[in-house]
Symmetry: C2
Amino acid sequence: MDSEPGTRPDPGGDTPPDLRYAAYARERLAAMSPPADAEAFALAYHLLQLAYVLVTDLETRIHRPRGLTLPGFRLMFKLWLLGPTQPVRLAEISAMSRSAVTNAVNTLERGGLVERRPVPEDGRAVVVALTEAGEAAVREAFAEQTRREREWFACLGPVEREQMTALLARILRARPADLL
Amino acid sequence: MDSEPGTRPDPGGDTPPDLRYAAYARERLAAMSPPADAEAFALAYHLLQLAYVLVTDLETRIHRPRGLTLPGFRLMFKLWLLGPTQPVRLAEISAMSRSAVTNAVNTLERGGLVERRPVPEDGRAVVVALTEAGEAAVREAFAEQTRREREWFACLGPVEREQMTALLARILRARPADLL
DNA sequence: GAGAAGTTGTTATGGCCGTAACAATATTCA
DNA sequence: TGAATATTGTTACGGCCATAACAACTTCTC
């Protein structure tokens, strides 16, 4: 049905393959018996796909050419704002595991971008701090990343951008309580 | 400033650490000289953070207990809708590399969930197809994932959910042309 | 037809991330 | 005080993903 060109907004023209797939999947799910929740699928799919494509773009276009990675940059950016910080704090802010922080810090430390310092009051603890090279790197990468983000979001108006941020924040705030 | 409790929506109560950090970062960026683009940061941050937290939740709560992974499930789900498909097609739909597909298919094939079949017309090509076990697995996992997604998005009304999906799709459709 | 050029899938290497197990250190509490 | 418990950071292992290089095959072009 509906195979003449121009009948719909563009279900086959220069639409990227991931969006064509999304449209197809939505139809198929709605047509199942019993019909599946095509709206929940579409929201989750577009959210994950956009995040994936955006992450890949920032990584390959901004950070890798500078010898960084996106996760590495994000960690350094936090240190830039927060100052020297314990791994356990970084892990809980980022909602990721302590071992992931250890790995990221290892990589950045090899590159001379951050350093570990012992904490006198607690023999277990360590703080991670930017080196001077790390501070310069994060400042420059931040400028470029912001520029690229603005390109990505230029298709939305200011009100829409705020709406979107607010909706995302609402979901994050209301995240299911049983997250472990 | 503003340190009495209850003055603001909750910049310190039971707000999760990632959102508290986001609010702090936003203030700091706006207070820089010259001020940085705190809005672009906030939008990108909330988008990436939500995607990350959601992915982690679906992975650990739904798929890992079933012996799957989220990327593995997503690939199987595509095969479920599309039928036997070439890796190159899967890669372009998913906007990921062919080698990532190879790896994912290897893992799924080890688990007996998909199989490779040669293509008579093209000696290079292969199609990946669900096995019977794979079809059963994807159907069950899909039901659970949908249930969980509905919990995540229950904090939005139907109109807001559609708004959000539309905004995400708009950004995906307008993605920068020079993505390589 | 035969060689050049392109496509497909794979492998190797390296980074990211999670879980589980561990050693070292702090804290609690009987 | 001293033993049980909790916390911190690390390591080992396996999965995901990208890039680059490669072999096999197809298609284009002369």
